[in-house]
């Protein structure tokens, strides 16, 4: 009976609405205006965001801090003002037709607040509405105080739960980014990137030329100086509406926008040094001076400590040769970095602009390692009318990077030194001299354009339509040349003859997104916003790889070669998503969000249709409830919870059965042939990850401390596993199947403490802590552990353990004969490989200190700690395997080192799985803000100087060079220190001038 009544009422009201029409509603509207100022200085705040509750109305304050709304529904109106760095304010005014209201705001400084605006899949929303944590990085503030040389530096150690792993110290190389752990065994675990609403390329290991280890990622094409804020959405609960691929998290970049006012010119110049600050290990060789022994070991005159394995030809060690080629004949130089930038911004209330240009040139510590980038950016925003505004974004980056031969590479400099000699022959280098290695010319040239346009149309105060379309296009040219005669024929006749690779690639990302949001007041207490939308995303990689051997002397072109080969690759992927979201707000204190997205993707199997990603979230600002006690100890408390799903698509061709073209010589002619490439899987579907998140935010101790806590429980089901196939099937190595389940549970804690605020001194301390428990819950019935890693068998996907864990045969040792030497007979191996640790840290934290003295001097330092992980020190393991290390040659070496070396000879590298935990002093800076009088002498408004250092100190138990090394660079899981160039130290000075 009740149900009938409701229907009748709905029908009646709808009919009334239709009859009355929208015109009458508009006729009853009114206006609200006001001014926003800083509570302390009383100066206007320009470009503060102003919202009218229960509507989609929003605007920015002008250069006098003023705002004005037309078309406001009459009655009690809630106006909310937010500006980054200030505590948001909400005021309610009553406006009636013919009697517009005025309301002014004086904002209090607060670095973090509930009313910060964050970008979501359905557009900008306030932090207080979010049921999940979205960590915002104030990029402009970071750039002003930290030695940020690229976007990875900008992200590194800024948000709890986001782990940016440097792999080495090569200028221009990329990093590995994980948010809330690794979800997928076989697919990328890198987060998705958005810039001003469009998705952009984030290819890891973005190069077709192998240099042994460190290669670029496209993340660093983005210039940190042009970014206003970075928002990190952790997992599926936050990223559900971003759709397929968002399970690994979403990082959204908002580039800088102009503010109303006269043109503001900002210029900076920075420069500094880059140094290698490590002590490299010495090469050892035990020698038996007995002439008979030497004669029988002419090939390899090494008499190690391990003598019992040489029963036929034992030796007696007479001496141990030592030489350190990397210290004695250091291949490194003091590198340098210089960067210059100029930007202009300003505009009117209707039109704002921001244009910038930057130039940077970094010379790494290898004499040939250079990276030059030029970027320009233009942002335009036009408020065409009260109902329509649009903005355009265009950015172009040009870069040229030269990479050295590194890591797992016989042409590498460090490999030649680490595995070199214990004498001065060939200057102690085992393979190439550094000068010879430096003749290999490996370049990557980038031309990247990102362009987008956005339109907001508000046909009524309750309806906003938003459209964005854009393209991110990268032209990437990878080339590698070895000129004839540069590499000795005795090392490689092939290289001596010369070779060249020239590989042009094009990477396209098209994004089109359209959504409409309707906002209305259900009751005086309940407001609603409903969004429906459609997103189209297309990613295409196209590349041609061409190479030739035996170059003609004097040429450096494919045309000069005599053995050309060519290949081509194309990888198109399209995602089409539909989504809807309903957000309900109760008294602007309780927020409930329900959403769903439906995706189709070209990479799904033919038998699979579409995938549905749901989401529900709630947020309760309980401290604003009347019943909540108002105390200085706890002034703000927000509780939140969210649950959502997202996914990761398979690879472009993973679902297909196909062959690759493979020509073969038959008789006298090469004819087209084929070889099986994929067995396909018609049932392939996306890997889905669902996440539950609980958390709270609180301001305590008279708002001196802001706390943010999040707990998440994330589980991937139908995990896409490149299942290793039994070789006896006669097919490819793997086939993608939806088999496994992966669990990630963890906490993220961040806090900021305004420890001291006086006119003379302010001290702010920011601390974060995080923990992540990653486990492979299920690998699939009948699937044996997947074994991989450096050397082929060092890491595993094994049920019950963290993804990529190290497994090796354990050993024990004892100096049974008490001779101070551990021989192989004194090392006992276990029967089977056992778990030895995981390659990713499982907890960590940061501590940042920001001290300002008399408003002119700022000191800043950032400590970063990561713990709970192991690292395969394959550098030392390999050196010992080649009888080059101390542990196998020097009887004064610790017994544990000797045992590790002996165990290595017996077939286990367990002795080289070492504690990879560390604490690093990442950044330190000192900035001087010159008095206005100084600036005015140059006709400027502001002037500041800073000196900053990066990678200044490391505390670790790791025995190798540095615990952050990874020879596999940005590889999904493979992690090992193997002849890897360690991170370098930066000292950079910077001058900022504003006109």
């Amino acid at each position: 009976m009740e149900r009938v009544n409701i229907r009748q009422r709905v029908g009646a009201l709808a009919l009334v609405g239709l009859l009355v029409g929208a015109g009458s509603a508009l006729a009853q509207q009114t206006a609200v205006s006001g001014r926003v100022t800083d509570s302390t200085s009383r100066q206007p705040i320009v470009a503060a965001q102003v919202f009218v509750g229960g509507t989609t109305l929003r605007t920015l304050t002008d250069q006098q801090g003023r705002f004005h709304f037309d078309n406001v529904p009459p009655g009690a109106v809630t106006v909310r003002v937010a500006f980054i760095g200030y505590k948001a304010q909400v005021k309610t005014v009553t406006a009636q037709p013919g009697a517009p209201a005025t309301v002014d705001f004086a904002l209090l400084f607060a670095p973090i607040g509930l009313d910060a605006v964050v970008v979501t899949a359905t557009g900008p929303q306030m932090q207080r509405e979010q049921g999940n944590a979205i960590h915002t990085v104030d990029a402009a503030a970071v750039v002003s105080k930290a030695p940020v040389t690229n976007m990875a530096d900008m992200l590194n150690s800024r948000a709890p739960g986001m782990v940016v792993q440097e792999a080495g110290g090569t200028t221009g190389s990329g990093t590995r980014t994980r948010i809330r752990g690794s979800n997928s065994l076989s697919l990328s675990n890198e987060p998705v990137l958005y810039v001003d609403g469009i998705r952009v390329e984030n290819g890891a290991s973005s190069s077709s030329i192998g240099v042994g280890g460190q290669v670029p990622s496209r993340l660093n094409d983005l210039n940190p100086n042009d970014v206003e804020a970075v928002e990190v959405a952790g997992g599926p609960s936050a990223g559900a509406l971003f759709g397929t691929d968002a399970a690994n998290g979403v990082i959204s970049f908002r580039t800088r926008q102009g503010k109303p006012g006269p043109t503001r010119w900002e210029a900076y110049a920075s420069g500094g040094t880059i140094t290698d600050n490590y002590t490299y290990p010495t090469n050892y060789r035990g020698i038996d001076l007995d002439s008979t022994w030497l004669a029988t070991h002419a090939n390899n005159p090494t008499c190690t400590l391990v003598t019992t394995v040489r029963p036929v030809s034992p030796c007696t060690q007479d001496s141990v040769r030592q030489f350190n080629p990397l210290e004695t004949n250091s291949p490194f130089r003091n590198g340098s970095r210089q960067e210059y930038g100029l930007s202009a911004s300003g505009g009117t209330e209707q039109t704002t602009y921001y244009v910038s240009s930057h130039y940077s040139n970094e010379l790494g510590v290898y004499p040939i390692n250079t990276n030059r980038q030029i970027s320009v950016l233009a942002n335009l925003h036009q408020q065409a009318s009260a109902k329509v505004d649009f903005s355009a974004h265009a950015a172009y980056t040009s870069g040229k990077l030269r990479l050295p031969q590194n890591d797992n590479n016989s042409f590498g400099v460090l490999s030649s030194g680490y595995l070199g000699r214990a004498d001065t022959i060939n200057s102690g280098f085992g393979f190439l001299l550094p000068s010879q290695s430096f003749t290999v010319r490996t370049f990557q040239t980038i031309d990247r354009f990102t362009g987008s346009g956005q339109v907001n149309y508000r046909p009524a105060e309750w309806l906003t339509m938003h459209g964005v379309a854009g393209v991110d296009f990268t032209s990437r040219y990878d080339e590698n040349s070895i000129l004839p005669g540069n590499i000795p024929a005795s090392f490689s006749s092939n290289a001596n003859a010369g070779s060249r690779n020239a590989n042009p690639f094009q990477l396209y990302n098209w994004t089109t997104n359209f959504d409409a949001t309707a906002a209305f007041v259900l009751t005086p207490q309940i407001k609603s916003q409903t969004t429906v939308g459609l997103q189209y995303f297309k990613n295409v990689l196209h590349g041609v790889t061409a190479s030739t051997q035996t170059l003609t002397a004097g040429t450096n072109s494919l045309a000069g070669g005599v053995l050309p080969t060519v290949s081509e690759q194309t990888a198109p992927v399209v995602t089409l998503g539909r989504y809807a979201e309903e957000r309900l707000a109760y008294n602007d204190r309780v927020y409930i969000t329900g959403a769903v997205r439906d995706d189709k993707n070209t990479a799904f199997g033919v038998k699979f249709g579409s995938i549905l990603y749901p989401k529900v979230a709630g947020s309760w600002v309980i401290s604003e409830e009347p019943f909540f006690p108002k105390t200085a100890k706890l002034s703000t408390l927000r509780l939140r919870a969210a649950w959502g799903e997202s996914g990761v698509r398979p690879g472009v061709t993973d679902a297909l059965q196909f062959f690759n073209g493979a020509p073969w010589l038959v008789g006298a002619t090469d004819i087209p042939g084929i070889t099986i490439a994929s067995l396909g899987n018609p049932n392939l579907k996306p890997e889905t990850t669902h996440e539950t998140e609980l958390g709270f935010e609180a301001d305590v101790l008279s708002e001196a401390v802001h706390l943010d806590f999040a707990y998440y429980n994330k589980a991937s089901r139908d995990a896409l596993i490149a299942r290793t196939l039994a070789p006896s099937l006669g097919g490819p190595t793997t086939r993608f199947e939806n088999l496994g389940r992966v669990s990630n549970k963890g906490v993220e804690i961040s806090s900021s403490w305004r420890a001291l605020t006086t006119h003379e001194v302010s001290v702010n301390v920011t601390a974060t802590a995080w923990g992540n428990r990653n486990r492979l819950v299920e690998l699939g019935t009948g699937i044996s552990p997947i074994i991989f890693g450096l050397g082929g068998a060092s890491q595993r996907f094994q049920r019950g353990f963290a993804l990529g864990s190290y497994f090796m045969v354990p050993y024990t040792f004892s100096d049974a004969n008490a001779d101070g030497i551990i021989d192989t007979s004194e090392v006992k191996l276990g029967s089977a490989p056992v778990f030895l640790g995981q390659p990713f840290p499982d907890h960590g934290g940061t501590l940042a200190l920001d001290v300002t003295l008399r408003a002119h001097l700022r000191l800043y330092a950032l400590l970063d700690g990561r713990f709970g992980n192991k690292l395969f020190n394959s550098t030392e393991q390999f050196r010992c395997g080649l009888a080059n290390c101390r542990g196998i040659n020097d009887k004064t070496a610790p017994l544990a080192d000797q045992a590790a070396a002996a165990g290595n000879l017996k077939g286990t590298q367990a002795g080289y799985i070492e504690d990879g935990s560390f604490t690093k002093l990442r950044e330190v800076s000192i900035t001087y803000f010159a008095p206005d009088a100084w600036a005015q002498r140059f006709g400027a408004r502001e002037l500041s100087f800073s000196i900053a250092g990066r990678n200044l100190a490391t505390w670790t138990k790791y025995k190798g060079i540095d615990p952050e090394l990874n020879e596999a660079g940005q590889s999904n899981f493979i992690t090992a220190d193997f002849l890897t160039q360690p991170p370098v130290r930066y000292f950079i000075g910077r001058v900022n001038v504003t006109f």
Binding site: W462, V573, P663
Partner: protein, 478 residues
């Protein structure tokens, strides 16, 4: 509650009122958009099964099978840091006394030291490539049956022969307990049970018989037909020899059936890295393997003997292998990346005849056959077709041990770097009762502080554990 619902209903009415046509249009667009072909993409780089299911595709299918077989046998041109260059010739040669390891990769060092690890990435790739070649030939044979005139097209017989040869390599070079699985047309897997080595040989022989029948059924008497018949005969005789069925092997490869001039080779080219001769690359180009000389105290002194059939050099003098410490002796049988590699030859047929004679106690007959071969070295022996000068006749061996030594020495030299030596060493232990210490390298390994282990064959890589019917080698016997 009632009050709330009423207000909610009113609000809904306002929504429908105000959203009006805009929302309706948007919803319609969102609902209809996926129905179009917006998701259609094309990938021009791949070959789908449907595009090769016709008679026109048979040359392509054949070329594919030939390529897969050649890669399994000789390796490819990709540098072997990932273990992708080796084939049966290099791995079996290293485990035997033909080659030594001259590089740094531990898993291959361990293989050379007769301590192969089932976890070895190199072993996995080589093993997988051999199975790929087996299945590729099997699938190709099925296509030839389906689409070709098998009375005129030699393709069926050739594919059957290649398929059978893969079984020979499996049995000769790997431990007992091999499995042979299959993928059905619907993509489902049929896993094979572990087979004792004897059954693998039996399978090879049975498949050679089918190949022989297919070749014999071809019309006419062309060279292609003869080649396939002779290939089937040499392969079958080789497997029979492995089984110890010397007399049967002898009758399969009589001089009339398989003349000295017969040879079947894998072809290679510089057109792509994949097509290159992996033996040349692994030894001369990348210097990861070198010619041994009396390896482990009992190996043949390939360098010292300086036999014309086994040309090797160290140039420039003192040249080191990839490890920077081991003298690099390069083979000079396969002169470049394009060099062909013999799979089966008339010379091998004669050696089988000679061994059958030895088994009959006809040492003189054996010597006659061996000396006849030495007197007229076949022109295909060196890949570039260069002639080998006639070799001096061998003196009659004194006693049965010497006779066996002579036969296997001659086999070693004639069949150098063709994946025969490992099987011969195993046969010396299995069929002739030679102790391991006088057959395989033993004692101190020459680097890394290792001693030689006891391997006489390669283990089945751990990847095969993904076959639920496989657990481990049945045995590692010779």
């Amino acid at each position: 509650m009632m009050h709330f619902r009423s207000r909610f209903a009113a609000a809904l009415a306002r929504v429908f009122d105000r959203a009006g046509r805009e929302l309706a249009l948007l919803v319609a667009v969102a609902a209809l958009a996926p129905a179009c072909h917006i998701l259609d993409v094309t990938n021009p780089d791949i070959v789908t099964p449907g595009s090769i299911s016709n008679v026109q595709a048979l040359p392509t299918i054949r070329a594919g099978a030939l390529g897969d077989f050649a890669i399994a046998y000789t390796g490819s041109g990709a540098q072997g840091s990932g273990g992708s260059t080796e084939g049966q010739v290099l791995l079996s040669g290293m485990l035997s006394d033909e080659l030594i390891n001259t590089e740094t990769f531990p898993d291959r060092v361990f293989s050379d030291a007769r301590r192969s690890q089932p976890e070895s990435g190199t072993l996995a790739v080589v093993f997988r490539n051999l199975h790929r070649a087996r299945r590729s030939a099997d699938v190709a044979a099925a296509r030839f049956r389906l689409f070709s005139d098998t009375t005129t097209n030699v393709g069926l017989a050739e594919m059957l022969n290649l398929n059978a040869y893969t079984y020979v390599f499996f049995a000769e070079n790997y431990c007992s307990g091999l499995t042979f699985s299959n993928v059905l047309d619907d993509g489902s897997f049929v896993y094979g049970d572990p087979l004792p080595t004897q059954q693998v040989y039996d399978t090879a022989i049975a498949r050679f018989r089918i190949a022989l029948a297919a070749a014999s059924a071809l019309a006419g008497s062309g060279a292609a037909r003869a080649t396939q018949i002779q290939l089937a005969r040499v392969g079958m005789a080789r497997a029979l020899l492995d089984e110890g069925n010397f007399a049967a092997a002898d009758t399969v490869v009589t001089v009339a059936a398989v003349p000295n001039t017969f040879s079947y080779v894998t072809q290679h080219d510089l057109n792509s890295a994949r097509q290159q001769n992996g033996i040349f690359n692994g030894i001369r180009k990348f210097k990861r393997y070198g010619v041994a000389d009396g390896e482990g105290g009992v190996g043949i002194k390939w360098l010292t003997q300086a036999d014309a059939r086994n040309p090797a050099f160290n140039s420039p003098a003192g040249n080191k292998g990839f490890d920077g410490s081991t003298l690099q002796w390069d083979q000079n049988r396969y002169l470049d990346e394009k060099a062909s590699v013999t799979v089966a030859t008339g010379a091998e047929a004669r050696l089988i005849n000679a061994e059958a004679a030895l088994q009959r106690g006809d040492t003189a007959g054996m010597l006659t056959i061996l000396n006849a071969l030495r007197a007229a070295p076949p022109s295909y022996y060196l890949a570039n077709g260069a002639a080998i000068a006639p070799l001096a006749a061998l003196a009659a061996p004194v006693g049965p041990v010497a006779a066996v030594n002579m036969l296997f020495s001659e086999r070693a030299h004639w069949l150098w770097l063709t994946s025969h030596r490992l099987s011969d060493l195993r046969r010396l232990e299995r069929q002739y009762g030679r102790p391991d210490s006088t057959t395989f390298p033993t004692g101190a390994y020459f680097k890394n502080g290792l001693t030689y282990g006891t391997d006489v064959n390669l283990p089945i890589p751990i990847d095969e554990l993904n076959n639920p019917k496989f657990t481990a080698c049945i045995d590692r016997n010779p």
